[in-house]
């Protein structure tokens, strides 16, 4: 990695670590935590949707599985949320493999719709299962404060560092995958599945690998959400709107790039907060208008997202001979 890039990364990291001491008030710290949360989910999504090109619009299913698993284990058996987090990850992987196995033979739109269908079904089932709290949801105890209990009431600061650490873990996992043979295989599957098969790549096996990694990391984020909010319900952890948001931060920032989802998370959350304060409240629909326009503009004019766009600029600046990513021909879904 070039020296300039390394320095820049360290500076960003230092800024991130120092951030709580630089913000003015607790609500700004909370804002930062929200950004990191959605960024973490976006980076996890990107492993499946960005690198391997399997667009999931139902990732909230994994988020919710993480949240509900760790919470139920805590409420029913007093299991430490840290262990519960890992358990949630494993349950998510099992679920992901179970749905991936039949669904990965679906192409493009069919697969995306299937992910929506599965996540919605899960939300409906949980909403109607009393043992899961039904529509009312589950409340987590305020007791057990401290690092062991994963509950911090007096200050949100520990939450900030935990989610920052979780984001860094997710980024590291993503980077490790990107640079290993898995990364190459995912890209090949995304670009030309038939050519990938002709060089020995078993499509289903590697798509399952992608969804396993992606679902595990997404579920960790869900468990974090539960411990931070101390209250979960289907609407907040299993909703399609959450699935869309997770995919959106990756698309906004740059699908298939490492930093894209993080950049997208910052931009999206900033826009959300701005529209909320400028136009006041979500009842008037103005936030939806801005949101919708943003999505359309990015999807139509900047499909490579912010990071992708900056990279293209950099390439053009450096000289001719470098090509942009070509678009698929008609008929391909």
């Amino acid at each position: 990695m070039p020296a300039a890039k390394r320095v820049a990364l360290l500076a960003v990291l230092a800024l991130a670590v120092a951030l709580p001491w630089l913000v003015a008030n607790p609500s700004q710290l909370n804002f930062a935590i929200l950004v990191l949360m959605i960024a973490q989910a976006g980076v996890a999504w990107n492993i499946l949707g960005g690198y391997a090109g399997q667009v999931s619009l139902g990732h909230a299913a994994f988020y919710g599985i993480g949240a509900y698993t760790s919470t139920k284990l805590l409420l029913a058996w007093g299991l430490s949320p840290w262990l519960g987090m890992l358990a949630g990850g494993l349950v998510a992987v099992a679920f992901a493999l179970a749905i991936g196995w039949p669904c990965f033979r679906l192409k493009g739109h069919y697969f995306a719709m299937a992910t929506i269908a599965i996540a919605e079904i899960l939300q409906i089932v949980v909403t109607n299962t009393d043992a899961m709290g039904g529509a009312v949801g589950l409340q987590l105890p305020f007791a057990n404060e401290g690092w062991a209990g994963f509950v911090f009431n007096r200050s949100k600061l520990p939450y900030y560092y935990i989610i920052l650490a979780l984001l860094l873990v997710t980024l590291s996992a993503s980077r490790l995958i990107e640079r290993s043979f898995l990364g190459y295989y995912f890209r090949a599957i995304k670009d030309e599945p038939d050519a990938a098969r002709s060089v020995g790549i078993d499509l289903t096996r590697y798509k399952l690998a992608a969804i396993a990694a992606s679902s595990f990391l997404t579920a960790l984020g869900g468990s974090f959400y539960a411990q931070k909010e101390l209250y979960i319900d289907p609407g907040s952890t299993l909703a399609t709107s959450l699935s869309i948001k997770i995919a959106l931060v990756a698309i906004l920032g740059g699908v298939g790039t490492l930093s894209g989802p993080v950049v997208g998370a910052v931009i999206l959350t900033a826009i959300e907060e701005t529209t909320r304060t400028v136009f006041g409240g979500t009842g008037r629909g103005t936030d939806l208008i801005v949101y919708g326009l943003l999505i359309i503009v990015v999807a139509v004019f900047y499909p490579a997202g912010v990071v992708g766009g900056l990279r293209d600029l950099g390439r053009r600046w450096r000289g001719p001979g470098a090509a942009r990513e070509p678009l698929p021909a008609e008929g391909e879904r």
Partner: protein
């Protein structure tokens, strides 16, 4: 006598009512170059797709080194040592030439640096070493065809199926391609070449299989094929 490298026996492939390959049999020995020719629609690409695992034959068998290959998938074919190129080039457009070939090399070398090294070798072998860091999408079609060959070679195959690699090449490029095929053969890889460019395969093929309307109508050394009245008739459509 040892079994041939590839033995296709009574291969039939039908799509619904349409018969693309009907009762085709031929063999390829190690280090042979075998030409596969025939007028358009004769079933050449379908035959390739069967050997490479993209289609399951309706009946008949394919054996590699004496072992029959049942229910072959493309990925299994690659693992067994059958590599192929595509008639309409299919490189990985978002990857560089080197990365394209690295994907191929990863079949046998999962470690990235080892695969990269193998990939560099293969790129140099086909003469694309200077384009290693060019995105595949920015390469010319002729270059991408050679890239596909490099990618296929990186999987360390015993048999290479070349589907019209010379289509659209000018005479100089054809000469280079022929020379490349010979070097591949010298490396120990047998080739089956589908071609319409006769002057390219006639000089180098050990024997030539001729298909017409799904059936094999001739199988022999190039000189015999050139004089075979059935072959001439098939091409002139009498």
């Amino acid at each position: 006598m040892t079994a041939p490298l590839l033995a296709v026996t009574n291969l039939t492939k039908r799509f619904g009512g349409l018969s693309a390959n009907e009762d085709v049999s031929f063999a390829v020995e190690e280090r042979e170059i075998v030409g596969l020719i025939g007028p358009n629609g004769a079933g050449k690409t379908t035959l390739f797709n069967c050997i490479a695992g993209f289609h399951a034959p309706t009946s008949g068998s394919i054996a590699l080194g004496g072992e029959p290959l049942a229910r072959l998938t493309p990925e299994a074919a690659a693992r067994r040592g059958i590599a192929r190129t595509f008639q309409i080039v299919r490189s990985f457009p978002s990857l560089t030439a080197l990365d394209n070939v690295t994907v191929g090399a990863m079949l046998h070398r999962k470690r990235v640096d080892a695969a990269r090294e193998r990939a560099r070798e293969a790129l140099a072998f086909v003469g694309l070493a200077s384009r290693a860091n060019t995105p595949a999408a920015a390469m010319t079609v002729a270059e991408q065809k050679r890239l596909e060959v490099a990618r296929a070679l990186a999987t360390e195959p015993k048999l290479l199926l070349l589907d019209e690699v010379m289509a659209g090449l000018n005479p100089a490029e054809i000469g280079e391609a022929v020379e490349l095929v010979l070097r591949i053969r010298d490396r120990g890889v047998a080739c089956i070449i589908v071609e319409h460019v006769m002057e390219a395969i006639m000089p180098i093929a050990h024997h030539i299989v001729v298909l017409d309307a799904g059936r094999k109508i001739a199988d022999g050394p190039p000189e015999a094929i050139a004089r075979d009245p059935a072959v001439i008739a098939a091409y002139l459509g009498s």
